[in-house]
Point group: C2
Chain length 207, copies 2
């Protein structure tokens, strides 16, 4: 990382974190000794904000409380779309019905999802991830969600736009063959899989 | 209804009600003056019970509290499937995670859904129906739910089996072109649409 920075190459960190702000995420990495700042991080929430601004969308949020500050500068009055993230405890019956009512009440429902994960593991067991609740709203409203976050093409395009770099001049480095390598390649970037983290030797990408 | 009964024809009432027992449903109709008994009603919950018994399935229930008595005689210890109905207030984050954990923990997940409705209207507004939550679990566990209730073929077959009548000797009478008429026809029965209830003249079934 220090060698990349010293070389003068442009750099972005791409994460699918949606249970906390970039500030919190960056502090954690800084604590581990990494040279990283909030401005260098591309995450689903700010990528969604970019889309909201571009298309004059005012979101109804169904997200984790800790993520709400990422949407501070976004107009949320009289919502004309729904943004769903891994809301965890906020996935209540009442909140799901409320998000549904906003969506179904729109002439052309727009659902933006900060990921498409099925489930994840916490210390107290497996939990349904945002993708499951996204599917519930998709079915109820007969819409297709627009997914932000890796491996969505739109997510990598956001990162490239922030750097002002065309895909063919960028390389993605990651440990996830689908979310990192596959997503970047579909976007026209080259990609490099590191043999650390979640890398397993049996995983290969069939073109 | 009285003329059908007087003629000696076999008769079943087929309903998609899953927020209450047949007892409650029948009492309501009796109060309106209809000659109807619980034994004449085919509803999703008892149809599911029939399937559970046939296949030695022990369900984890995610249903409305008022529906639980329908499953009184079913062994629910050490569950090897999940039965989902319109659980309403029981669709909590904790309950959904629990049903998900049962399903994902099974070698071959079996999900039985008491309907596939998208949403319905109550006095305090629109509510997500069982179909939306079914889709969430389907996606998270990569399974296809087995849907009981109209218009599922299996549901009409249950009613026919209870009467001991082959489909070609039965006729379905209802007001819903999809759930009543379409479902019965796909099952090999003839069907008659009444011009009452939810009947609208613009609705026709394209074969």
């Amino acid at each position: 990382l220090n060698r990349i920075k010293a070389s003068g190459l442009k750099l972005r960190f791409c994460t699918n974190e949606t249970q906390a702000t970039r500030e919190k995420f960056v502090k954690k990495l800084q604590g581990m000794g990494f040279d990283i700042s909030v401005a260098e991080v591309t995450a689903p929430a700010p990528a969604a904000c970019r889309i909201l601004k571009e298309r004059s969308l005012r979101p109804h949020l169904l997200v984790h409380n800790d993520l709400v500050p990422e949407f501070d500068e976004i107009d949320k009055a009289n919502p004309n779309c729904v943004v769903i993230g891994d809301a965890a405890e906020n996935f209540t019956y009442a909140n799901l019905n409320e998000a549904f009512r906003v969506l179904i009440g729109l002439e052309k429902p727009v659902l933006i999802s900060l990921g498409r994960g099925r489930y994840y593991k916490e210390t107290d067991g497996l939990k349904l991830d945002v993708g499951a609740y996204m599917k519930a709203l998709e079915y109820a409203c007969d819409v297709q969600a627009e997914v932000v976050g890796k491996p969505a093409k739109m997510f990598f395009e956001s990162a490239l736009a922030e750097m002002g770099v065309p895909p063919e001049q960028a390389i993605m480095i990651g440990d996830d063959i689908v979310n990192d390598v596959g997503g970047a390649q579909r976007c026209g970037m080259r990609a490099l899989q590191v043999r650390t983290g979640k890398y397993r030797s049996v995983q290969t990408l069939h073109p």
